[in-house]
């Protein structure tokens, strides 16, 4: 497979015309691909990108979006990313350091520096035993694979999480993706201990604690990070959710307003707003807002599942199914199987057995193998279907 290093031009000051001349005569170990901001996501979706160099003199939402896309599609490997800037200001340094990125190339010598940069990355990517290649594989499993693949990729990391913060972070992500939040929290903590300046681990730790209902600890961790960088929209949204859970709606609103002023229309802010609307019983408004969401994380996904189960148990099966249909569209790939399982359960409660079986099949497919809970519901349905004609007779 072709390995690509994206050259993302956010400066628009003529690099499109000059970059080919800059790299001419130099040998790169990865294929270089010059792209504009709009082309970043489609390129990431090809699965060929392993590295990214952003040309931007100033920080801004586009830089952050590129880093977010890299985190999602490639993985959190700070050393595979770099920025080209002459004189980045402290806020710029701080915002990109949120993603662990701290390598800057000089605008004058970037092409020469890129030779070594790509050589180093290619060597790691091509070595099947390197932590980086295993991390890439694990992230690919989380984004595209099923639960079985995630578990296998996680196991391939071996004990690297005991000494490598990137491996530990990837493993914790995998544990979160397969729903083992308690274990994920411990491994995020390990990653944080191995590198106390690696902010992604601390952020995710805060998020996982929220999912587990440990709101106070989550707030403590997220507030500490907030002091060091008050411009991270994702964290502000998580903190807003945490404060709302704690009953401090005013602080939650304050944080969301700050987040919106930094990045208007950010999907994570909309997600937090939808969470709050749902929690405050404004289901219609929450549903409306959910239409604009994508890649919804574990906390809101858990809330949606919780609400669906409640509706189903109250005999409002149809409402539960409507909720699950919406939820299935917006949650992250690795969280979909749980929605499908709960939808099957809701159908079972409504005695809609054929539809329940369809949801179970979908769940199994998303899970990627035999899933004990699916088998239990399926067995229950079979039992009912078997006994129904007998009773009728």
């Amino acid at each position: 497979m072709e390995r690509i290093c994206l050259l993302v031009d956010l400066n628009t000051n003529g690099l499109e015309q000059t970059w080919m001349a800059d790299v001419e005569g130099k040998s790169f170990s990865l294929k270089l691909s010059y792209v504009s901001f709009e082309e970043v996501q489609p390129m990431m979706e090809t699965g060929c990108v392993v590295s990214m160099v952003i040309f931007s003199e100033h920080s801004g939402n586009q830089v952050i979006e590129c880093l977010t896309l890299f985190r999602k599609y490639v993985g959190t490997i700070p050393s595979f990313q770099a920025l080209v800037a002459q004189d980045p200001d402290p806020m710029y340094l701080t915002e990109v350091f949120e993603y662990g990125v701290e390598l800057y190339l000089s605008p004058e010598t970037w092409a020469a520096e890129l030779v070594e940069f790509t050589e180093h990355i290619a060597a790691l990517v091509e070595d099947p035993e390197s932590i980086e290649s295993k991390t890439l594989a694990l992230n690919h499993s989380i984004v595209y694979g099923d639960q079985g693949q995630i578990v296998r990729s996680k196991e391939a990391l071996g004990n690297a999480d005991s000494y490598d913060y990137v491996a530990a972070y990837a493993k914790a992500n995998a544990l979160q993706a397969i729903g083992q939040y308690n274990e994920a929290v411990e491994v995020y903590r390990a990653s944080q201990q191995l590198n106390k300046t690696f902010r992604q681990a601390s952020n995710s730790l805060g998020e996982s604690l929220l999912v587990l209902g440990k709101v106070d600890e989550a707030i403590e961790i997220l507030e500490r990070l907030e002091k060091q960088n008050p411009r991270c929209v994702e964290r502000k949204a998580n903190l807003a959710t945490a404060y709302y859970e704690k009953g401090d709606a005013a602080r939650a609103e304050e944080l969301l307003a700050e987040a919106e002023s930094i990045h208007p229309g950010h999907s994570r802010v909309a997600e937090a707003r939808a969470e709050i609307l749902l929690a405050s019983g404004k289901v219609g408004e929450a549903f409306k807002m959910m239409d604009s969401l994508q890649d919804v994380g574990p906390f809101f996904a858990a809330k949606l599942n919780e609400m669906g189960i409640k509706l189903s148990q109250q005999g409002k099966g149809k409402s539960a199914i409507a909720l699950y249909k919406k939820a299935h569209k917006i949650v992250r790939h690795e969280l979909k199987y749980k929605i499908s399982l709960n939808a099957a359960l809701a159908c079972y409660r409504m005695a809609e057995y054929p539809i329940a079986l369809q949801y179970l099949s979908r769940c199994e497919k998303e899970y990627g193998g035999t899933y004990e809970k699916v088998e239990k519901i399926r067995a229950a349905i079979r039992k009912v279907l078997k006994s129904a004609p007998a009773r009728a007779g």
Binding site: T109, D164, Y165
Partner: protein, 472 residues
């Protein structure tokens, strides 16, 4: 280490010895400071007899001689040198006073490296000397390439050290070598069962006659990071129940807005920044703040202007005991960290600055006496031997090393030639290109510290035997 790393030899790497054979020693007086500035060693002989003795003793890289000598001429010198294989390749530059038959006849039929005619200005002579040495690739004329001497194998440079513990998130090692902050080193414990790790961004602290190297644990990579997590805290203040004081950094940045942004960011890391609006102000504040709890000084660039010199003077004036570490952010690609000043290359990432400030702050803490463990380790860096000369040789590495360090060169053939001794001393280091991570290092072997010619004869003999063996 790949073959394509080799790209000729760095200029100025080999300190050259130039032997002047002149009838009057005064002739070299005006040239001497110019040669010294280029780190050349100047040796003077006033007779052919003395010259031959000095060739044997000094093994010069170039001989500059008068055409006519009190006890002979340049032709005689040339012929005598040709009689000895060892000295055949030393270039000889002849100074001809005038184009007379007496001056020119002895030179006929001999291959001199060049001629200087009439009265030559010192600068012109220096240019000619440099030209001749560079035409020999700027290495010693005795230099033997590793491939010609069948010496091409992977080798390692190593230094012995002891891990004594940690101060916060900094691993503290005691060693006899200073480390360069730009270097990545393999930390290899002697104890079996403890894995290795790559460590970087090291810094040096001199305390009670010992060198301590501090490495940020956050930057350590590899299985060795596991045992590093369990190192004992050796900060005595913390051990006795006290809290770490907030770090205070005297911070020079000419742009107040940038400073204000940095100040906000570092408050989150429990570091207080005190603003110095100019270098002059920084120099003045250094004296006042030195004994009042400033843990570190940060300067955005340190130019070679009066203000830069004032800063260096101010640093020197602070008693060593109170002198805080100085970090200079610079765009200059050739700046190298010294004991007093640590350079970080701009543009740098936030993590680099956070670690640099944290290391500087931790280096001021009371840890030396509280050493908790003595885990023996080696710092290692892979190297490629490029060749040998009469004092040692030239290596190529991917990381800079510190001049003056005594290290162990682990090379199977050299250890045999050096009869078990592997200690070398780094005498100079040059980065191949401003943006590359390829460094060439000139080293001297301890074995060659006696007679250079005897040492070199032994090495030459060994290499000849080895060549015969491999041909067979």
């Amino acid at each position: 280490m790949t073959e394509n790393m080799v790209m000729g030899f760095a200029k100025g790497l080999t300190p050259h010895t130039v032997l002047f054979l002149v009838d009057k020693p005064e002739k070299t007086v005006s040239l001497a400071p110019l040669l010294t500035r280029l780190k050349y060693k100047l040796v003077t002989a006033v007779s052919l007899y003395e010259c031959l003795r000095l060739i044997d003793q000094e093994m010069p890289h170039l001989i500059v001689c008068d055409a006519i000598l009190p006890d002979g001429n340049a032709g005689v010198l040339y012929d005598r040198m040709q009689q000895q294989a060892l000295y055949r390749d030393i270039p000889v530059l002849v100074m001809i006073a005038s184009k007379t038959r007496e001056q020119l006849n002895p030179l006929k039929g001999r291959k001199f490296a060049g001629f200087l005619l009439g009265k030559v200005e010192p600068k012109a002579m220096l240019a000619k000397i440099v030209e001749v040495l560079e035409s020999h690739q700027d290495v010693s004329p005795f230099f033997i390439r590793a491939e010609d001497g069948c010496l091409v194998v992977d080798c390692t440079l190593a230094a012995e050290a002891k891990v004594v513990g940690r101060v916060g998130d900094q691993m503290v090692c005691q060693s006899e070598a200073e480390v360069d902050p730009d270097a990545s080193l393999l930390c290899q414990p002697q104890e079996k069962g403890k894995g290795p790790a790559i460590i970087r961004l090291g810094s040096n602290v001199h305390r009670s006659g010992s060198i301590y190297n501090l490495f940020p644990l956050n930057q350590a990579k590899g299985s060795g990071r596991t045992w590093m997590s369990h190192l004992p805290e050796i900060n005595l203040d913390r051990i006795t129940g006290g809290q770490d004081k907030r770090g205070r950094v005297l911070f020079y940045d000419p742009k107040i807005e940038r400073f204000e942004q940095f100040k906000r960011v570092f408050e989150g890391y429990d570091i207080d920044l005190i603003h110095a609006p100019s270098l002059q102000a920084a120099a003045a504040m250094m004296g006042r703040e030195a004994d009042s709890g400033v843990s570190c000084i940060y300067l955005d660039e340190l130019p070679s202007t009066a203000a830069g010199i004032a800063i260096k003077d101010a640093i020197q004036k602070i008693p060593e005991k109170f002198r805080p570490p100085v970090i200079v952010a610079t765009t200059a690609l050739n700046s190298r960290s010294t004991r007093e000043i640590r350079y970080i290359r701009k543009p740098f990432g936030l993590g680099i600055l956070v670690e640099a400030l944290d290391t500087a702050i931790k280096s001021r803490m009371n840890f030396a006496e509280g050493a908790g463990t003595k885990l023996e380790i080696h710092y290692q860096t892979p190297a490629k031997l490029l060749g040998l000369d009469e004092t040692g040789g030239i290596l190529q590495t991917k990381w800079p090393l510190v001049v003056g360090n005594k290290l162990i060169l682990q090379h199977p053939e050299l250890v045999k030639m050096w009869e078990g001794s592997a200690e070398v001393k780094i005498t100079s280091i040059v980065r191949m290109e401003p943006t590359s991570n390829i460094w060439q290092i000139k080293f001297e072997t301890i074995t060659a510290q006696g007679s250079k010619s005897k040492y070199w004869e032994k090495i030459s003999r060994h290499l000849s035997e080895k060549a015969i063996e491999s041909a067979g």
